[in-house]
Amino acid sequence: MPIYSEKVMDHFMNPRNVGEIENPDGIGEEGNPVCGDMMTFYIKVKDNRLEDVKFKTFGCGAAIAVSSMVSEMAKGKTLEEAKKITPRLVADELEGLPKNKFHCSNLGAQALNKAIDDYLKKQQKEGGKQS
């Protein structure tokens, strides 16, 4: 009885969208290596949609799988849709997470959220130059 579901293992072993985006439209960092997990999300936005999402993660198997899943779920979504990705939804998509690992899925959604907020803040500053 592995502690992780097959879906988690798949996303851990073959994480989607790992990396950085050069000149990203938004960056969100969540967590803290002292606590064990830290995630950085990079996003590229086009026409209010997440054209590209990438991440880097320091953390356990669950943290990596959650990051991968969040990136996959977010990609192509509108900003409003992406902001509705909750930890619960991520865990469900991963076919469950061990109880004590649930906090990882919080971090994933939060880091993405922060990246979107980062983008929106920049937009405001720039007075909506680009779309």
Partner: protein, 395 residues
Amino acid sequence: MREVYLDNAATTPLLPEVREAMIPYLGDVFGNPSSLHDWGDGSREAMETARDQVAQLIGADSDEIIFTGSGTESNNFAVKGLALAQQSKGKHVVVSAIEHFSVLHSAKTLGKWGFEVDEVPVDKYGVVDPEEVRKRLRKDTVLVSIMHANGEVGTIEPIKEIAGITSKLKVPFHTDAVAKAGTIPVDVRELGVDALSLAGNQFYGPKGVGALWLRKGVRIMPLLDGGIQEGGRRAGTENVPAIVGLGKAAELAKTDMESRVKRLTPLRDRLLKELPRKVGHVVVTGHPQNRLPGHASFCVEFIEGEAMLMLLNSKGIAVSSGSACTSRALKASHVLIAMGLPHELAQGSILLTLGIGNTPEDVDYVLEVMPPIVDRLRQMSPLYAKFTKTVKGGK
């Protein structure tokens, strides 16, 4: 795929000879050792043989051996039982900061019962300074419990020196030798301690059995009340097959100890030397020399232990980690923190503990498999990215 079990600190496999010794007691010889008929005689006899074997492993008398259900039980029994038996003399207890939780949390429970618990610090190698113990001893100190070897970083503690101090002051001294007894020589008389815990599954014996050695004349309060098994000190129908297995494992450990140590030490030393070299940004944890023979432990920078563990597992290699993520309680290893490692680094904890089944080829395989795994995780790590950007100036 190659299968390489490098988690012998978590538990060792059962030796075939030990299993063979146990089988009759899962079959025809099933009597309750307390029974007065022939069925009971057979079980009792086997149990007493095992008691002799365990006693011989640690240079004790047979009637000083109390069988328990685990190393954890031995430690709970010793820490609570010795302190409670002496509480009319005082309520002060001294432990080290790197004890196993079965000692630390037992001490915490004593705290709830009105005891005062002092923790002795360790140096960066995880070594307890006997002087630090001496400084903490008081008139009302009724128990000192310092482990013999740490299962997480492999460091061996100066038990004899500490016993020299406690015995002069007549303070009962318990040592948790669970990670050490059966692995390297332990002689209770030479050590001069008063109580010592050991467990079968640490030296190729069965799970579900441990022992507490208690020096004759030392008083203890039972943890398990009930019948008068084990001289009234540990009640409950005895786990005869496991006890027989523990005895056999003790016998084999005594006979083969030297050759086992000779085989394991060079394998360990290769890991300790080569892994940091091949991987880079790796710190050896625990004492560089004065450590358990099969025990190699590290912290790998910029990545987390559980992820390493899982990728190694996907390559057929079993290891463990003291990272927060692997602890289920999600706390960084209290051992690594007590040794002064930053939390961040402690997250990269990884433990490779060799057993008598391992070969030089196993070590080759690990040294081959490990670098790309670390590399892969570092490529994913924002910490490593920051490091390369700031220190190396990008890549």
